[in-house]
């Protein structure tokens, strides 16, 4: 019995001691450990996005962006094939934790791309960084992730997508200075993303001298917006700002048209509505509806963006289905460039990558991506944000095209 207990304890302790430690393997010495990739073995890049459920388009679009990036470099880096291990995190915290743990448990994972949801990145990035794995996020926009006050366990986290602190400020600037609205009402749907974005917006708007009449909330599955809209109508705002998701936003857009008192009120939504699904869901009322989103017009995007769109169409038989594929492409490119910079080969053809060296390389790499110039600051914010506002022009979902329907109306 004693022997069994001792064995048990030993096994437990062994299993618990499982973090990144300094090591020298082959020609590379690194503070956080070294990954050895045998000759001919693939370089394993992890990915976790929302790949099931109502928001599938979001995650799938990004995964495809990464796959095209791999294809563009010929599927190989330094003679080793690239392998994407994509996990589904379901856009919730537990799914995220399981996905990240699985990727972190694989000692061959070099770098991880994703996730799509900010609430998923919060538990995920520290798990990965504990093993010294860098997490390049492709669609999580929560301000706290790259704030200067972020905790050390996020030191390995970078993102090629803008921060909502920028988006909210830009939207407030537009609403106050360009749309000349004096009073607004905001609506969120209980998701961390929407709630945070409208809060940033409201704070900035108030600072500029505007009035926030009230901050409302709905449930994402709500269908009947009459009471809410009637109440808002009674407050007589100039503009309603609701960065919520497709189903609820479509209901608001439809029902606002029929609500007496809101006929002249401007409606504005957020980047999650940049899809053909939203046009279908909102029907004829979508014409004239605006959303705040970074500038993705061909002039503002990198010059290779149209080429990317063509490749996407050829590979998947449809145009990009959501808004963050370019960020995902750039995230993958960032990872690849960093790997190329720090990987060392020995005479047998085995590849060695130092983890801390890789992290430093990711944070130091600069290039022109297809979503704009990529250059990371000390806290992992790698994308340069350019604000814009888009407006939908037609209610036919087949005419969906970023820059066409919706088209840019500002700046």
């Amino acid at each position: 019995m004693n022997a069994i207990l001792k064995l048990f304890a030993a096994a437990v302790l062994l299993a618990m001691a499982h973090t990144a430690t300094a090591a020298t393997v082959g020609p590379v010495t690194d503070d956080l450990g070294v990954i050895r990739i045998a000759k001919g073995a693939p370089i394993q890049i992890g990915g976790y996005w929302v790949l099931s459920g109502a928001d599938t388009a979001l995650g799938l679009d990004e995964k495809r962006g990464v796959e095209i990036a791999f294809k563009d470099v010929g599927g190989k880096v330094l003679g080793h094939p690239l392998k994407l291990n994509a996990e589904d995190d379901g856009c919730n915290a537990e799914g995220e934790q399981t996905a990240a743990t699985k990727l972190a448990a694989n000692p061959q994972t070099v770098v991880v791309l994703g996730p799509a949801c900010s609430s998923a990145a919060t538990p995920g990035a520290p798990i990965l960084w504990q093993q010294g794995i860098v997490n390049i996020c492709t669609a999580c926009t929560a301000p706290a992730l790259t704030a200067s006050t972020r905790k050390p366990e996020y030191a390995g986290f970078a993102r090629t997508v803008f921060s909502d602190s920028e988006q909210g400020k830009a939207d407030a600037t537009y609403v106050h200075n360009v749309a000349k609205a004096q009073s607004v009402v905001t609506v969120h749907d209980g998701s961390p993303y929407a709630q945070q974005l409208q809060q940033v917006f409201a704070d900035n708007f108030k600072q500029m001298g505007g009035k926030v009449l009230s901050q409302e909330a709905i449930a994402p599955t709500d269908v009947d917006m009459h009471p809410l809209l009637t109440r808002i109508a009674s407050e007589k705002p100039d503009l309603i700002y609701f960065p919520v998701f497709t189903a609820a936003a479509a209901q608001i857009v439809r029902q606002a048209k029929d609500t007496p008192g809101l006929e002249k009120t401007t409606l504005m939504g957020g980047g999650s509505l940049l899809s053909a699904d939203f046009i279908e869901a909102a029907g004829p009322s979508v014409v004239g509806f605006r959303i705040g989103y970074p500038d993705v017009s061909p002039e503002a995007m990198g010059k290779n963006y149209p080429k990317f769109v063509d490749e996407y169409k050829k590979a998947y038989n449809e145009a990009p289905i959501s808004g963050y594929h370019a960020n995902a492409y750039d995230g993958a490119m960032l990872a690849i460039k960093a790997i190329e910079k720090v990987a060392k080969e020995d005479k047998d053809g085995n590849l060695f990558i130092g983890k801390k060296a890789l992290r430093d390389a990711v944070f130091a790499t600069k290039f022109d991506g297809i979503s704009g110039p990529i250059a990371c600051d000390a806290y992992g914010e790698c994308s340069q944000f350019k604000a814009s506002v888009l407006e939908f022009t037609s209610s036919d979902p087949k005419t969906f095209g970023i820059g066409k329907n919706p088209k840019k109306i500002w700046p």
């Binding site: 096994a11 299993a15 499982h18 790949l51 589904d88 379901g90 694989n106 609430s119 969120h188 449930a219």
Partner: protein, 549 residues
């Protein structure tokens, strides 16, 4: 008889069409069982045809049934080629057409489907006719190959860390993509031999034992299984540990709901509310956030969380004391939903964090050692589950437990016998809630954050389903149910989209085929099959079966 075979085949074939139209078939096709030779999707189709054949019985009927099983799919293929179904049914894509016809084109494809179905049907029927000894060898072998192939990523993950002879063996069995043909054959032969040898030894032992030792035998087997489970994360790594933590938490909750539903017969669909209370209490008392109420250590917060859960459980139970049966299910569902809405609302946000939840919850600390890794949290969950299991076991055999069982059978009679209904019911709610609160507490520290979206109705349904599928009223059943309904889908996350489809199908099938669950308590089994016993007795069987000599 021929008609029956054809009907069986058509029914199975309709099932195949269903999984094709839903998209599961194509998703399964992306996974190999044997690399470049047999995909999971193809395996599924073969299994369907084989199953039709086996159900039909005789080889000739099997042939007919298998062929008939191929007909609906063949019809689908023909239809897909001429009618643009893809516009409506998004899963009927050109890729699916290619898969079904094996890239051979329409007429050859139809021929392959029906012909292949017929062959599989004959094999299925033949398999059923073979002597038990052959079947006992083939089935474990086939299952082992399937598991080795489908879970290849996971198995390779576990064996990543080993070089040397084990590493070489692994390379023989697997490539980066999956199981090799020689690997499949090797595993099949090995498993068949092992199961045959071990199985026959075991069987001889069992035959020689008296009835009383049967139970001991089962206990020993359960004990070994549990030990393997407990040591698994230490060997297999942090991913398995993470999955097992979730499994463990659901086991905890399952034991709690078992008290309410299995013993006391109180159908509670609002169970997630207690889970939420435990999680939020722990969060509010330990988090490093501005609106936290205190900054205690985890070990101080956990008892408070459990205690608060008990109180909430009692408060829940008080209004619904008079409600019975299905109505109670819906009433508790409503209560659970009310808690969920409040937890997410802006109204309660100053205290509960609203949509942003509560972040920065610290991990538990034992002196200098922080329980950070999933494996260490798994052992925490294991200890908690063991303690809870002990409490549950003692309760089951106590006066209170017996009062609950009387309550479940007939409330009025129980009251007439002098059992205090109010006290018993409230204790059931309270103690059940305590288990859930404990689980919620560990959940909060595992995720280091609580978001309101984590507390949906689905969790209550999950817990209820797992105790029903595992076997109500039995502790081993809860463990088995949790592994089956929580552990497996986590491992099969790739099919995440279809998880709930399988879930629903499993629930229906389980309830039809084995309503007492996978590992029922003896009491339950007797209850559910009491009717069978009566029928058997009427037909002349002995009341007590003769003992083997």
């Amino acid at each position: 008889m021929m008609r029956r075979a054809v009907l069986i085949g058509l029914a199975f074939g309709a099932g195949a069409v269903h999984i094709a139209a839903v998209g599961v078939l194509l998703a399964m096709h992306q996974r190999w069982i044997i690399v470049d030779a047999l995909s999971l999707g193809q395996g599924a189709l073969l299994l369907i045809a084989g199953g039709a054949g086996a159900t039909a019985g005789r080889p000739l009927s099997g042939l007919l049934a298998g062929a008939a099983a191929g007909v609906p799919i063949a019809a689908l293929v023909v239809l897909m080629s001429f009618v643009p179904l893809h516009a409506i049914f998004i899963a009927l894509s050109p890729d699916l057409l290619d898969m079904l016809t094996l890239n051979f084109g329409l007429s050859a494809g139809v021929g392959i489907l029906i012909g292949g179905g017929a062959i599989a049907g004959v094999l299925g029927a033949a398999l059923r006719a073979t002597p038990a000894i052959v079947r006992r060898a083939i089935f474990p072998g086939a299952i082992a190959v399937a598991v080795a192939g489908v879970f290849q990523e996971l198995i390779q993950l576990i064996f990543q860390q080993y070089e040397g002879p084990i590493g070489d063996f692994r390379d023989f069995l697997y490539t980066w993509e999956g199981l090799t043909p020689q690997g499949a054959v090797t595993i099949f032969i090995l498993t068949a031999l092992c199961s045959e040898v071990i199985g026959s030894v075991w069987r001889r032992r069992v035959e020689r034992m008296a009835v009383r030792d049967h139970r001991r035998e089962r206990m020993v087997r359960a004990g070994i299984a549990l030990l393997v489970l407990a040591l698994l994360p230490a060997v297999a790594g942090s991913y398995i540990g993470q999955v097992l933590v979730l499994v463990g938490l659901y086991i905890l909750m399952g034991m709690g709901l078992n008290l309410e539903v299995g013993l006391a017969g109180l159908l509670d669909l609002g169970f997630v509310a207690f889970f939420a209370v435990g999680a939020y209490t722990t969060a509010l008392l330990t988090a490093d956030a501005s609106h936290a109420l205190a900054h205690l250590s985890y070990w101080a917060a956990m008892p408070v969380a459990v205690f608060l859960s008990i109180i909430v459980g009692v408060l829940f139970g008080l209004p619904v004391l008079g409600v019975r049966g299905d109505y109670l299910a819906v009433a508790t569902l409503g209560l659970g939903e009310i808690v969920r809405v409040i937890v997410q609302s802006d109204f309660a946000a100053p205290l509960l964090g609203g949509a942003q939840g509560i972040l920065q919850i610290p991990k538990p600390q034992l002196g200098d050692f922080v329980l950070r890794s999933p494996v260490s949290l798994f052992y925490l969950t294991l200890v908690a589950s063991a303690a809870a299991a002990f409490v549950a076991w003692r309760l089951e055999n106590s006066r209170l437990g017996r009062a609950w069982m009387a309550l479940r059978d007939d409330e009025d009679v129980a009251q007439a016998l002098g059992i205090n209904l109010v006290r018993s019911k409230l204790l059931a709610y309270g103690l059940g809630a305590a288990f859930a609160g404990l689980a919620g507490s560990i959940f909060a520290t595992m995720l280091t954050s609580v978001y309101p979206s984590s507390f949906q109705l689905l969790i209550s349904i999950n817990v209820l389903a797992l105790i029903i599928v595992g076997g109500m009223g039995s502790l081993p059943g809860v463990v088995l149910g949790s592994i089956a309904l929580i552990g497996l889908p986590e491992l099969l996350r790739e099919f995440g989209e279809y998880r709930y489809l399988f879930y629903g199908a499993v629930l229906i099938v389980m309830m039809r085929l084995r309503p007492e669950g996978l590992w029922p308590s003896d009491v339950r089994q007797r209850e559910l099959h009491a009717a069978d016993e009566t029928l058997a007795l009427d037909a002349g069987a002995d009341a007590v079966p003769a003992q083997p000599r």
